[in-house]
Amino acid sequence: MSALATSRRSSPLGTTTLAGLKPALFITLVSIVAVVIAAIVSEPFRSPTNVESLLFQMAPLLLVAAGQAIVITTAGIDLSVGSMMSLATVLAAASSSSAGAVVAIVVAVGLLGGLGNGIGVVSGVNPLVMTLGTMAIFRGVALLVLGQPGGVVPADLLTPLTTVFGHVPLTFLLALGGVAILWLASAETRWGRALFAVGGDEAHARRARLPVRRTLLIAYSLSGLFAALAGLALVARIYSGDPNVGDPFALDSITAALIGGIAVTGGRGSVLAVIPAVLLLALTDNLLNLAGVFSYWQYIAKGVILILTLAAYHAAGRPTGLLTMARGGWRKRGGAA
C-alpha cells in the first residue's frame, strides 16, 4: 500500500473529480480517432450539412444524458426523460404564447416533473418503477395537450433555437454549456459531494448526516429540467410538437451515460464524459448511415460497440488490464477475486 506516498497535489479540482475523467479520456480518444478517420475517408461526412446535422442531433441527447448521468450517479435511473422531452415539445408548440412564457412553462414543468420523481424515490419507491410510472403520466399529459404531431412554435422561440453560427448550432453550444454546468455542480459543490456519497451508499450517507433527501430531490429535479430543455433542443429540429418524439431517448440517454463511464451501481463517474459518449453514439449512426449499412446491421454494430466499451472499462479496472488508463484503479468492493 502506497498510502504514505506524499503526493501533495494542489489542483483546484477535487481528486475524485479528476479521477472521474479517466473513462472520459478513453472514449474521447476513441471518438476523436473515429472522427479523423471518417473525415479522411468520407467526403459526405466532411460536408457542412452533415456536420451541422450531426451537431443538431447531438444537442438534445447531450442534455438529456447529462441529467440521466446525475440520476445514475445516485444509483437510480430515470426512464421518464423521453416522455418529458415529448411533453416539452408539445408545450412549446401548443401554448401559442411568447418565447419567454414558453421557456418558463417548460422549465417549470421539467423541474416539477423531476421533483415528482424525486419525491417518489425519497419515499422509497424503486426509481425504475417510479419513473416507469411517470413515463406513462407524462406521455398521457403530452397526448392531452396535443393529440397528434403539429402545433405552432412561437417564432420568437424558434428563431434563437435554430440559430447557427457558421455551421455550429446555438442549441449545441447551449447544450455543451449545460453539460459543463451540471458537471461542475455535481463534482465541485457540497451538493455534488453528497450526490456521490448517496450514490455510493445511502445508509452511510444518512449516518454521516448528509441531507440525503434533499440531494435526491435535486438530482431528479435536474434530470427533469434537463429533459425538458432537451425537448426544446428537439424543437429546434422538428419545428413543432410531437407527443411521441422523445420515446427513444430514455434508453439512448442511459446508454450514453453508461458508455461515458457512469457506474450503474452509483457513486462513480463524471458527467463531463457524456460529451464524448454522445459524440460516439451519434458518429456510429452517422457513419453507418453514410456507409450505406442498413439499420439492422446498425443495431448489431451498436450492441457490439456497447459491449466492447464496457468490457474495456472492466479490463481497465483491473490493475493487470491491457489498458492502463485507470492504473491503480479502484479496488473492487466485494467482487470475486
Binding site: G150, I238, S240, Y296
Partner: protein
Amino acid sequence: ATTRADPTGRFTIGYDVYWLGNSWSTQLAEEFRAAVERNGDSIEDVVYTQSDNQVQKQISNIQSMISRRVDAIIMTPISPSASVPVIQQANRAGIPVTLVAGMADTRDTAAEVRADDIVFGRTGAEWLVRKLGGRGNIYVLNGLPGFSTDTLRWKGAKDVFDRYPDIKVVADAHAAWDTARAKTAVSNMLAAHPDVDGVWSQGGAMTLGAIQAFRAAGHPLVPMTGENNNGLMKVWDRLARSGDRSFDSIGVVNPTWVGSEALTQTLNLLRGDEVRKVNLVNPEPITAGTLDRYVRTDLPDSFWVDTRLDDAQIRALFDR
C-alpha cells in the same frame, strides 16, 4: 422541377425506409425496390436509409442524403410536422422531395403519393352503416394515439357515425394495429358489452384479432371492416365458403404499391415532365363480390393483396 440527370440521363435517388416493423411497411419498401429494378435504365444509384419509426433518426437520415447530394428524396414522414424543416432544407439544396404513404404539414414537397386516410376511415364506416341498416352497437379499434394516420382515419369514420344517431359506439380501444392487443381488447369488450352488431377497425391485423376474440368467446361473428391484408382475406374467404352469413367485411385498400408509384412520379419529375403534386390513391375496396380476385391462399397472412409485385418478386419476398 429542375432536370438534374447526369449525362447518361440516370439519377441518384434517396429512399428512406421509415420502418420495417410490420409487414405492410416491409412490402411498401419491396414495391419500391421492385420499381427500381423495373426502371434500372433511369437510375444510377439508390441511397437507402432506415429510420426505425424514429423521428429524430429520419431527420438525420434525410440530412445525410442532402449531404450526399442525391437528385431526389423519397420518404414516408413519421411525423407530419417534424419532417417539415428537413423537407425545406432539401428544397434549399435544390433536391425535390416526394412523400410516399404519408404527409407533411408543408406545401414544399414536389409530389405526394398516398391513400387518403380520411377516405379510408370513411369508406369502412359507410359500408358498416349500410350493412347494419343505420342502427346498431359497434366497437371501434383505433391504432396508436398521437399518430396522424390514427387521427385521420378515425376522423373520417366519426364524421359518418355522427350522422347516424342510432349507431352507437359502445366501446373503443387503441390496439396499436396489433393482432394480440386487438384480440385482448375485443375480448374485454365482449365481456362488458356482449350486445354488439359490428366492428369498425383501422387495420387488417386488428380485424383478425377481433375475429379470433369473437371465436374464443363463442360469440357469433358480426360484420367488421378491414384492410387489404391477406390474413383477413383468407379467413373471410374460408368463412364465406363455409356459408357463415353472420360475417361480412370490406377490405379498404391502403395500397403498398404507392411505393412504386412514388418512384414513377419522382422520375417523371426529374425528367422535367409535368406531375400532379398530390396523388391520392384510394383503389376500389375489396368486397365479398370481388374477394376471389384478391385472396391468395397460397401466400402467408402477412402478405398485402392488391400489389404491383409480380409473382417472382412475391416469392422472393417470402422465401428469402
